[in-house]
Amino acid sequence: MSKIVITGLGLVTPVGIGIRESWESFIHGKNGANDMKSFDTSQYKVHRSCEVKNFHLDVELENQIKENTIHKYLYYAAREALQESGLLYGENNLNRERFGIAIGTLAAELTPHERLMRRDTSKKDNGFDKIVAAVYPPNSITNVLAQYFQFEGPTMVSLNACSSGNHAIAWAYDLLVENKVDVVMVGGGDMIPQTEFTHFHNLKALAPERCQPFDKNRQGLMIGEGAGVLIMERYEFAKKRNVSIIAEMAGYGLSCDGFHMTAPHPEGEGAVKCMSDALKMAGLQETDVSYINTHGTGTPHNDKTETTAIKRVFKEHAYKIPCSSTKSMIGHLMGAASAVESVVCCLVLRHGIIPPTINYETPDPDCDLDYVPNVARELKVNHIVNNSFAFGGNNATTIFSRMG
């Protein structure tokens, strides 16, 4: 069976545009929260989120993609990742019908739609026009990326709420293992639709000021936006192209709580199955894992349940594994979250530095693992577990390993 490797990374996050800027922020524990600018929040009790700042694309593309910046975030991240993997300016001898795309999103189509509906509130369908009608279904994302980067193979858009990115990665992994494709551009992107903001706000799931995963006084999640892209390919293909390998994608696990539309299973049943299955697929023992990038949203429920689940899977070893939440810095990027966090995992393998959980002040007896509080840590890491547990109980865990 072929190994599946990562050869390119791209990021657009609330703490940086591009890999370099984002990573600098991550290891320095920068807080990406800001006062909301995308829409007026005066009627809400919460006025903050983690927005992408100072984002501009080349003028040419600005003109071509006016309507929907999720395409722009993904375009930027994809271009950065392709550049690194050497696939941006296509070598002519490659069969691009074996280049696939898999993208996860929660609500890609909503933001442009909201913009139009705000224009005229007298009747629901007044805001439509031709341009939007042509761009907004979720699969428009893969269509746009395929067109710009000449990817001509199978495509997929995964709508699995907050585990969409990991689902896309799992789908790509299968396709590569089956040798149906040579390369898959995988990732996730989301913006902050007012719809989702309201949804979380009215469920009282939003933190008012900052995101404090695993802290005793955590008050909820912060919505974030951005995109993350990874170039996954078959090892033989990467080797033939003589490109440097960042990490190996070692396996994944999927599960579903089948329990409640918005609350996780209290014993973390789904989360346990998902992590255990991932370890099994990767052929790893619990003690092989040297870092967990947690789902760590900062809601009272999630962080407690996830901690319980980690202890159930890793037993005594759980206390020895650093588990941090990058959501403390960039917020919850929803459909993009697990893709962005997968990029982070690859960067951890590359640099040997674990980004911290910031805003951590008061230990919670229910959350008693090593969350890498506030300061990044140098550590040689071999295998990383990347968790995503979505609303509705869609769980997906991916594992990234140092290339042996």
Partner: protein, 411 residues
């Protein structure tokens, strides 16, 4: 060693009825599920017809408790999934939970309800809206609902790929069982008519009846000029063969292969699009290890669009050569319309029914031959024929081509 995958349950919510029996009886008798739309105000627009679901009684399948919080699409999917699980006689005590998954295709899911919710947000004080208003408004919330009420714990996945969403979902579920990642997967699609979706198609010029043309769902006909939109949920239970045999399940058919290709945007020539459509069919047959001489039926994507029907016909002609004069081609969208993200699942179920009854429904609304369409169309009356292997085509306007090979089950 790859596992074999069989179909052991069927659930249908459709414009042609909300049970397997009604759907098939209406289809084989050449009835149409298309009529003037009653749920949308279409007075400003010229296209008036649709394949709406008219006789669903969700309380029969889901009970009446909490029903008021469920959107149309969730009622469709919940009801169809319940019918399919009952049909498969699967245990409901949760004993299979960890072996069970759900993989559903839906292009726009509960999108219309999501925008309705946004409409409430901008017209009211958003912080005063009840959280129950947004209980069921994510694009994949109907899938979550089904996983919760039927205690599905293996995996849940929603795939959005435009017109091919449900075929891609079924193909994905098929591959997961083949690889032993689950024993049973509830799969298929769900899509609903809404003013939002109507306008997307209307503004893109895809609907039949624009610019004074005749409004009708007439795949492959010379006068075809677009499609009629439809809605519903078509669900199959896929099961690993050994598992099905051990519990003595009724086996409808075996899924043998899946293939898909992507054109990637709209810049490609007709020839290139034909070649890619051909490739998806070829890949599905190769995956199934079935030679093209052994295909006895093709369920065409054919939704009545001028160019796409012609691309598909040419691709079939080019791949099957002279032999394509002998392979009957059906087009169930003539009866039900274009059900978008669940259309492929509708075709698959119709094909499975043909395999089980040795009867192929004929294409309705067909009157004049198009010289560009050189196929053995099933016309005027149903065709009685024993079917061993069939090909189901799903070909997206945007360039996705997805195909399944389904066969009569035999030891």
């Amino acid at each position: 060693m790859k596992k074999r995958v069989v179909v052991t349950g069927i659930g249908i919510v459709s414009p042609l009825g909300c049970s397997k029996e009604d759907f098939w009886s209406n289809l084989i008798h050449g009835k149409s599920g298309i009529a003037p739309m009653t749920t949308l105000d279409l007075s400003p627009y010229t296209c008036k017809l649709g394949g709406e679901v008219r006789d669903l009684k969700p309380e029969v399948h889901l009970g009446s408790k909490g029903l008021k919080y469920l959107n149309k699409g969730t009622r469709f999917l919940g009801s169809a999934a319940k019918m399919a699980l009952n049909d498969a006689k699967l245990p409901e005590d949760g004993s299979l939970s960890n072996q069970m998954g759900i993989v559903i295709g839906s292009s726009l899911g509960n999108f219309s309800e999501t925008t309705d919710y946004f409409y409430e947000i901008i017209r009211n004080n958003p912080s005063e809206l009840s959280p129950m208003l947004s209980y069921d408004v994510a694009l994949n919330s109907s899938i979550n609902y089904v996983s919760v009420i039927f205690k599905i714990k293996g995996l849940a996945r929603t795939i959005s790929a435009g017109f091919t969403s449900s075929t891609d979902a079924i193909g994905n579920a098929f591959n997961m069982i083949r690889k032993n990642m689950a024993k049973v997967i509830v799969t298929g699609g769900v899509e609903q008519i809404s003013i939002d979706l109507y306008l997307i198609f209307y503004l893109r010029g895809l609907l039949s009846g624009l610019n004074g043309t005749k409004e009708s769902s007439m795949p492959f006909d010379r006068e075809r000029n677009g499609f009629i939109m439809a809605e519903g949920s078509f669900i199959v239970i896929l099961e690993e063969l050994q598992h099905a045999l051990e519990r003595r399940a009724n086996i409808y058919a075996e899924i043998k292969g899946f293939g898909n290709s992507f054109v990637g945007g709209k810049k490609y020539s007709m020839d290139e699009r034909i070649r890619r459509a051909e490739r998806a069919m070829h890949d599905a047959m190769e995956d199934a290890e079935i030679k093209k001489e052994h295909i006895d039926l093709i369920s065409a994507h054919a939704n009545g669009c001028k160019i796409q029907d012609s691309i598909e016909a040419k691709a079939i002609r080019s791949l099957f050569g002279i032999n394509s004069s002998n392979i009957p081609v059906s087009a169930v969208k003539s009866n039900i319309g274009e059900a978008y993200g669940t259309a492929g699942a509708a075709q698959l179920i119709s094909t499975i029914m043909s395999i089980n009854t040795s009867n192929i429904p004929h294409i309705i609304n067909y009157s004049e031959k198009d010289p560009e369409i050189n196929l053995h169309l099933t016309l005027e009356k149903p065709l009685e024929k024993e079917i061993q292997n069939a090909l189901v085509n799903n070909m997206d306007y945007d360039g996705n081509n997805s195909c399944l090979v389904v066969s009569k089950y035999g030891k």
